[in-house]
């Protein structure tokens, strides 16, 4: 059985929509951030797979996936700093309680 390109794409599509579902239905800031990680991760898989199967001699998708991993690390760090600050101010990180930007 040969592993075709579509199998990887179906896998990343399912993962991406799991992340989107979590982003729609979770009401905790950290859970929403975890869903965003799933979405970013599936996009990275797509970049690597397209690079591997359609343009095997090039490196664009490879480097795009690598930089996306770095950027998502930065995004997570800043978002978690903001979330910890929110928690310190209102003792809660449920989305329902976030009504104002400045405390």
């Amino acid at each position: 059985m040969e592993i075709r390109m579509e199998y990887y794409l179906v896998l990343s599509t399912i993962m991406m929509f799991a992340g989107i579902y979590g982003f729609f239905t979770r009401r905790n800031l950290l859970a929403m951030l975890i869903s965003v990680e799933l979405i970013l991760n599936s996009a990275d898989i797509n970049f690597a797979v397209f690079n591997r199967f359609l343009f095997p001699g090039e490196l664009e998708g490879f480097f795009f996936a690598m930089f996306a991993i770095g950027i998502s690390a930065a995004e997570t760090a800043v978002a978690i700093a903001i979330i910890i600050n929110v928690y310190r101010n209102i003792r809660n990180i449920q989305v329902r309680n976030l009504k104002e930007l400045k405390f």
Partner: protein, 169 residues
């Protein structure tokens, strides 16, 4: 149809990834969600290894599985409220989200499976680390030194911004 070891490994990892990414967004306890996310990220690294991108797989293991998940676990433990199970979503909103997700999933799967991709020749073997290093730090055509430097500035800005936001006043 003969089943090779590689396709068995791929099927196993794909099944684990699908199951655990759905569990990540459906479990009620957030620490479990972080653990399931860790398993999904490990399997993603396995997918990269299988695509012969060992460098990308190790970057994934180091940064995602080693760094980001630890950050998540720490912040979950810092911000968890005792006895709070979180808000339940209203029934209408829950079904609206579920229907939108399923519709989008069906549309994307239809487009992906309907499309005929170009035939590929023989895939090359393992990507050489020397080649990665040269093109990452070269400024010629297909060189990536500008995004490399830009991302280093971005990471520095994130460190400073994180400290500024989260420090005690």
């Amino acid at each position: 149809m003969d089943i090779t070891l590689q396709s068995l490994v791929f099927l196993f990892m794909a099944a684990v990834m699908v199951v655990f990414s759905i569990l990540t967004v459906t479990t009620r306890r957030i620490l479990r969600a972080a653990t399931y996310l860790l398993i999904v990220l490990f399997c993603t690294a396995g997918i990269y290894f299988q695509l012969n991108y060992a460098f990308l797989g190790s970057v994934q293991l180091l940064i995602y599985a080693g760094g980001i998940t630890v950050l998540y676990v720490f912040s979950i433990l810092l911000t968890s409220v005792q006895g709070s199970k979180g808000d339940r979503l209203g029934r209408g909103k829950f079904f609206a989200g579920l229907c939108a997700t399923l519709a989008g999933l069906a549309l994307c799967l239809f487009i992906t499976l309907k499309n005929r991709f170009l035939a590929v020749g023989s895939l090359p073997g393992e990507l050489d680390v020397k080649e990665i290093g040269y093109s990452l730090l070269s400024s010629d055509k297909y060189g990536y030194v500008l995004p490399f430097e830009a991302i280093s500035l971005l990471l520095l800005a994130c460190i400073v911004g994180g400290i500024m936001i989260a420090r005690k006043r």
